[in-house]
C-alpha cells in the first residue's frame, strides 16, 4: 500500500481517477479499524488532512458550510451550530462514541461510511442539509437524503470526494434535538430520533423528523412532518406520527436490539425528543 498526503483536491481527484482501489483517508476512526481487521486493503491511501478546502466551518451565502474534515469534536463545539435547524447536527456530534474517537473521526468520513446506526445521517436529514461533492466534472450539490442509498452505500460515484455539508439557514428560530437510545454510553444507537421544530405560540409551524437505526437509511416521511405542522403537538397527533413511522420502518435484529424492540422504542423516543427540543 502507498500513502500519499494530497495537497489539493485536484491532486486527490487525479490519484482517485487513476486507481480504482485507492481510498481517501479522513480521520481513520473507521477505515483504519477496518484495515486492522483485514476487512479492506486499499492499494493507495490518500490522506485528506492537508487540504484546506475541507477544513473550517463558515457562513457562505444562505448556508453554514461545514468542511468534510471537521472532527466530531469540532462540530460538537462549533458556535455556528448553536441555534436553529443546524443545532441538531451539533447535538448529534457530541453524542458520538467517546472523546478520543470524537477527536479523530470526521463528519465527512462518518457519512461516507453510511452506517445507519451512526448519529450524523439522521441529524443531517432533520436539518435539511445538502452535500457538496467534487468530481473530475466539477462540483455538484445534492440533498442529503439522496446521498444515503442503502446500508453502508451512498450515491458518491467512483472518483468523487465529499467536500462539505451545507446547512441552509432557513429556520434560524427552530428548536432541534438528537436523542439516542443506546445500550450503554457512547454506543451506536439502538434507535435515534433527530428533529427540528418551529413553534408559533403553541402551534407547530415547521417540523422535520428523521429516525436512525430503524432502516438501511435515515427514515424520513413527509406525511409525519405534515401532520405535526399546524398541530399543537398533542398526544393524538404524536401517536399518529409514531404509528406512521412504525409502519414505514424496516429495522433489523442485531446485538443492539431486535427489530420488534426497535419498533416499540420509536413512539416513546419521539415524544421525549419533542419535549426536550421544546423544553
Amino acid at each position: 500500500m502507498k500513502y500519499i498526503e494530497a495537497l489539493s483536491l485536484q491532486e486527490a481527484l487525479e490519484i482517485l481517477a487513476g486507481d480504482d482501489e485507492a481510498r481517501c483517508l479522513a480521520g481513520g476512526a473507521t477505515l483504519v479499524a477496518m484495515m486492522n481487521a483485514d476487512l479492506i486493503a486499499p492499494s493507495t491511501l490518500i490522506s485528506l488532512r492537508r487540504i484546506e478546502e475541507l477544513k473550517g466551518i463558515s457562513a457562505v451565502d444562505n448556508y453554514i458550510r461545514i468542511g468534510a474534515m471537521n472532527t466530531h469534536s469540532d462540530v460538537a463545539n462549533a458556535e455556528q451550530l448553536l441555534s436553529g435547524n443546524a443545532f441538531v447536527i451539533r447535538d448529534a456530534a457530541r453524542q458520538i462514541a467517546h472523546p478520543a474517537i470524537r477527536n479523530m473521526g470526521t463528519i465527512g468520513g462518518s457519512i461516507c461510511h453510511a452506517d445507519p446506526a451512526s448519529d450524523f445521517p439522521g441529524s443531517l436529514v432533520a436539518a435539511n442539509a445538502e452535500l457538496e461533492i467534487i468530481g473530475t466534472d466539477g462540483l455538484r450539490q445534492i440533498p442529503v437524503q439522496d446521498f444515503f442509498v442503502d446500508y453502508l452505500e451512498t450515491s458518491l460515484q467512483e472518483g468523487e470526494v465529499l467536500t462539505a455539508i451545507l446547512v441552509p439557514t432557513t429556520h434560524s428560530q427552530a428548536h432541534g434535538r438528537h436523542l439516542k437510545f443506546s445500550r450503554t454510553h457512547g454506543d451506536y444507537a439502538t434507535v435515534s430520533v433527530s428533529l427540528v421544530l418551529s413553534m408559533q405560540s403553541d402551534v407547530c409551524n415547521y417540523a422535520r423528523v428523521a429516525i436512525g437505526s430503524v432502516a438501511p437509511t435515515p427514515l424520513h416521511l413527509d406525511t409525519v412532518d405534515n401532520i405535526l405542522t399546524g398541530s399543537k403537538l398533542n398526544d393524538d397527533v404524536l401517536d399518529d406520527a409514531a404509528n406512521l413511522l412504525q409502519e414505514a420502518c424496516d429495522p433489523i435484529d442485531d446485538v443492539r436490539g431486535s427489530a420488534e424492540y426497535r419498533r416499540k422504542i420509536i413512539p416513546g423516543l419521539l415524544k421525549r425528543a419533542i419535549a426536550e427540543a421544546l423544553g
Binding site: 500500500m1 502507498k2 500513502y3 498526503e5 483517508l25 481513520g28 476512526a29 483504519v32 479499524a33 484495515m35 486492522n36 481487521a37 491511501l45 490522506s47 488532512r49 469534536s73 462514541a97 467517546h98 472523546p99 478520543a100 474517537i101 477527536n103 479523530m104 450503554t184 454510553h185 457512547g186
Partner: protein
C-alpha cells in the same frame, strides 16, 4: 508487498526518524520500534481505550492512527509524563488510591484523564465518569479510578 516510508515522529519531546510500513498503526510503531510499551493494545479497533495517547493536546486512539499520518504532530505517551524521576500527579494518585487492579487499562485511563484535566481543570465526578466511559476496565475498578482522578485534582489544587 508494501513500500516502506520514512516518517519523522515527535514522541515525548524526542524526534525519531523511522522506516515504517504505511499500514502500520502508531500503536504498533510506538510499541515495536520505539519500545514504548506503556501504551497497550487491547481491541485494536478503537473501542477499549487502552491505547489512548495525547496528540497535539487531544486524546486519540493510537490503534486508529497510522504512523505515516502522524508526522508534524506532538505525541505524548504515558512514558512522557514522569519528570526527573517524579511521577505526574495522576500517576501518583492512581497508585495512592489503588485505582487499578491488573493495570492493563491504566495508561489509557491516565492519558484520557490528563486530556480531560487540560480542558477542564475542575471536572465533577460525573464529568470524569462520562469522559472515561470510552476506557474499559475489565477488572471493574471504575469507582477507584474516578476517585484517583478526583484525588489528583485535589493534590494539584492544594
Amino acid at each position: 508487498m508494501t513500500n516502506k516510508q520514512i516518517v519523522k515522529l515527535e514522541v515525548n519531546g524526542d524526534t525519531h526518524e523511522l522506516l515504517v510500513q504505511p499500514t502500520q498503526t502508531l500503536l504498533h510503531v510506538l510499541r515495536e520500534q520505539l519500545q514504548l510499551t506503556g501504551t497497550k493494545c487491547g481491541c485494536n479497533n478503537g473501542v477499549c481505550g487502552s491505547c489512548t495517547i495525547i496528540v497535539d493536546g487531544q486524546a486519540v486512539r493510537a490503534c486508529l492512527s497510522l504512523a505515516v499520518a502522524s508526522s508534524e504532530k506532538e505525541i505524548t505517551t504515558i512514558e512522557g509524563l514522569e519528570e526527573n524521576g517524579k511521577l505526574q500527579s495522576l500517576q501518583q494518585a492512581f497508585i495512592d488510591k489503588q485505582g487499578l487492579q491488573c493495570g492493563f487499562c491504566t495508561p489509557g485511563m491516565i492519558m484520557s484523564s490528563l486530556a480531560l484535566l487540560a480542558k477542564n481543570p475542575s471536572p465533577s465526578i460525573d464529568d470524569i465518569r462520562e469522559d472515561l466511559s470510552g476506557n474499559l476496565c475489565r477488572c471493574t475498578g471504575y469507582v477507584k479510578i474516578a476517585d484517583a482522578v478526583m484525588s489528583a485534582i485535589e493534590v494539584e489544587q492544594s
